[in-house]
Amino acid sequence: MATLARLQARSKFVAQQYYFRNSVVDIFRKKEYDAAVKIQSWFRGCQVRAHIRNLHRVATIIQKWWRSYSGRQEYQLIVKFASCAMKMNLYNAMAVRIQRRWRGYRIRKYCFNYFYLKEYLKAVSETNDAIREALEEFAEMKEREEKKADLEREEKKRDYQARKTHYLLSTKQIPGIYNSPFRKDPDPWELRLQKAKPLTYQRSKVKQKRCISLSSWLACTSARSFPRSEILPPIDRKQCQGPFRDITEVLEQRYKPLEPTLWVAEPISELKVAREEFRRQEWMRDVNDNICSQLSVSHFGLLLLILNVNC
């Protein structure tokens, strides 16, 4: 019973102590609990981080290997294509070289010859120059001819004038108007007058042309009106003074028709011409031009004759 009393006396103290100790522990319990949680969470965090770091390391290794593998594959593809391209370029370049040569050859040989064209153009320009020269010469010649014709016409006119005014010629007694005594030399017209033959009376009659007037054109209504023939010898000329021959005899002799001698009648190259004619006929007639086969007995003599005459 003593213990019980002691316990009962202590029970309040025990209860107080019990309560005090629990409450004190409670205060520390939270703190200790929080500290334990903190330590544990930190440790877990380290654990997880280490795990993740490991995972990263491993993933990097895998990816590294994978990427190097795929890169190498790509690189091989690139190299393959590059080498293909290089080879194709080379082939292309060689093909271009061949085609270039071939095309040049083909054009030059079959289609267009540059040197020929150059020569042709040179020839054309030379022909042009030649033609230009020839045409210039031709034009010059024409001009010269025209000038000459003009000069001749002028000359004829002056000559006719001189013949018409022949009476102005100076005589011994009376100097003419072109031969004034106060001049050193006579006028050139004077010399012309001296050279000119005076016009006769009949020439003026003959020179008169048939005038083509309306009435005369229609007047000759006959269909057989021929142009006038050459002038006949004059009939009604006065008898000239002096011991001249009879006019009929003179006229007979003057207008005697030509009777050439045999020597004159034939032209001088008659024989040659006849020979040529003969040869030409022979050549036309003969089938074979070879002279030896042509020779027959009848021809031989003639041939000899001709040859002899030639020598």
Binding site: V124, T127, I131, R132, A139, L214, T221
Partner: protein
């Protein structure tokens, strides 16, 4: 009344008729009298005199009628309406040569005015009698008949065919061989009028063997004859290649070239017409002409004439150059281009300028060398001014535009192209810029020159729609230069620089 007095009355009447008809014929030579004569009713008075007993009066009456009908077509119609033609045709067959000449003169005078009058002559059967007159001995009669036939055949192809059907062509060819120059001229002119209408008629003339004789007559010194002969040959040659080849086979080259140096202008014109008609058919014929030196002769001929005489020569050069580039080069080396540009600038008439522009276009359109040869002579600005000027006719504008375009498409001679940048209209500017864009990428000296001459500046100033061809060309030109230069020359760059100067704050310490 004694017999003599009776006869005297008749003689007086005859004298009066003769005098009347001779005076009328003389008065009809002057144009101012003809109106008065017509009003006085001379036609109805002359008609019965044609049937007069006295041949002289008939002939003079016919002559007077011919002169009246020659003057204008009213009188010619009056002759036709007055039923004079059948009488003339009938007596043409029977009378003497003076009457034949006068009657043929009347027919010619009536037939020359219009196709209807000529048809009236054909309808009254005059052709057969005229053809019979062609066989007459007298050259004057032949000449008058040939002249009448020529004038009838001149109008159209049916009348020519009628003349040919009457059998005139062989006789005309015979007339050409006669010694009289006037007859040769008229016969050649008649053949020319017949053969100009159609190839069949020309073939008929050729079949009668005319070409050989005509080719010989080219050498004749008479200029009027040469005119007609060259005219016949050119009318024959113009229709087809075969006819042209036949004319050439008659060995007219190089004799025809001497005609180009003749003093008479129309001989030159007809000779160059003949050469043109031959050259235009095929390249081989043109080649033949070039080989014979014809191009040089024609160029000299162009240089020595003025006006319409030059026109066939210019066209001939155009035709020759149009066939192929070798022939065009032959024209260039014969010094054709300076001559053509002279023609272009100094001729007053538009159609000749148009022909010269066309010819230059044909020469320059083949290759860059050809275009360069044309551009070097400074003709492109002249062509441009002709195209732009409002006074030029439409034909001239069209032709010069075509010529400019065709030359520009091949021209790589940049100094000639540069002036075009400044004053060309947009449709031509496109081609110019296109040519620059083709040449500049390859030639560094040209690029430098382009910049220094201010061309790049001008190109920047051109406004073009984006995406159009012009813009592409401008871009390709701009790609030839570094960016700074392009920016420097772009319009408004100085303004942007000044703006930058304005907005620049200098650093203040």
């Amino acid at each position: 009344m004694s017999q003599r007095q009776v006869l005297q009355v008749f003689e007086q009447y005859q004298k009066a008729r003769t005098q009347f008809v001779q005076m009328v014929a003389e008065l009809a030579t002057r144009p101012q009298n003809i109106e008065t004569l017509q009003n006085a009713g001379v036609m109805s008075l002359l008609r019965p005199l044609l049937l007069d007993v006295v041949p002289t009066i008939q002939q003079t009456a016919a002559l007077a009628l011919g002169r009246l009908a020659n003057y204008n077509d009213d009188l010619a119609e009056a002759v036709v309406k007055g039923d004079i033609l059948p009488q003339l045709v009938y007596s043409l067959a029977e009378q003497n040569r003076f009457y034949k000449k006068a009657a043929a003169f009347v027919l010619r005078a009536v037939g020359k005015h219009s196709p209807q009058l000529a048809q009236a002559i054909v309808d009254c059967g005059a052709l057969d009698t005229l053809v019979i007159c062609l066989e007459d001995f007298d050259p004057g009669v032949k000449e008058a008949a040939a002249w009448a036939l020529g004038y009838i055949a001149r109008h159209n192809a049916e009348l020519s065919q009628a003349v040919v059907d009457a059998g005139a062509v062989p006789l005309l060819v015979l007339c050409i061989q006669e010694p009289e120059i006037a007859l040769k001229r008229i016969a050649a002119s008649a053949l020319s009028d017949i053969s100009k209408h159609s190839p069949e008629l020309a073939q008929t003339v050729v079949d009668a063997g005319a070409i050989a004789h005509l080719a010989q007559m080219i050498l004749n010194p008479d200029s009027k004859l040469k005119r007609q002969v060259l005219s016949v040959l050119s009318q024959i040659a113009k229709h087809s290649v075969d006819l042209a080849e036949m004319v050439v086979e008659a060995e007219i080259f190089p004799v025809v070239l001497t005609c180009l140096k003749d003093k008479d202008e129309y001989v030159k014109k007809n000779a160059s017409t003949l050469i043109r008609e031959i050259a235009k058919h095929t390249p081989e014929l043109s080649q033949l002409i070039v080989n014979a030196g014809g191009v040089a002769a024609v160029i000299d001929c162009i240089g020595s004439c003025k006006g319409n005489i030059r026109l066939p020569g210019i066209m001939m050069l155009g035709y020759v150059a149009a066939h192929s580039e070798n022939l065009a080069m032959a024209v260039i080396i014969s010094k054709g281009v300076p001559q053509l540009s002279v023609c272009l600038s100094e001729e007053p008439e538009d159609h000749i300028k148009a022909a010269a522009a066309w010819a230059l276009g044909q020469i320059g359109r083949h290759t860059p060398e050809h275009a360069r040869a044309v551009a070097v002579t400074n003709t492109l600005p002249v062509l441009l001014s002709l195209y732009m000027s409002t006074e030029s006719s439409e034909d001239l504008q069209v032709k010069s535009k075509k010529a400019i375009k065709s030359i520009l498409q091949k021209c790589t001679y940049l100094p000639a192209l540069e002036p075009f940048l400044y004053d060309a209209p947009p449709n031509i500017l496109k081609h110019v810029v296109g040519q620059f864009s083709k040449v500049l990428p390859h030639d560094s000296k040209a690029r430098r020159l382009f910049v220094t001459s201010g061309g790049l500046k001008k190109v920047q100033e051109i406004k073009a729609e984006p995406g159009s061809l012009l813009q592409e060309y401008i871009n390709s030109i701009n790609n030839c230069y570094p960016e700074e230069i392009v920016r420097y020359y772009s319009p408004g760059y100085s303004d942007t620089l000044l703006q930058r100067v304005d907005s620049y704050q200098p650093l203040t310490h």
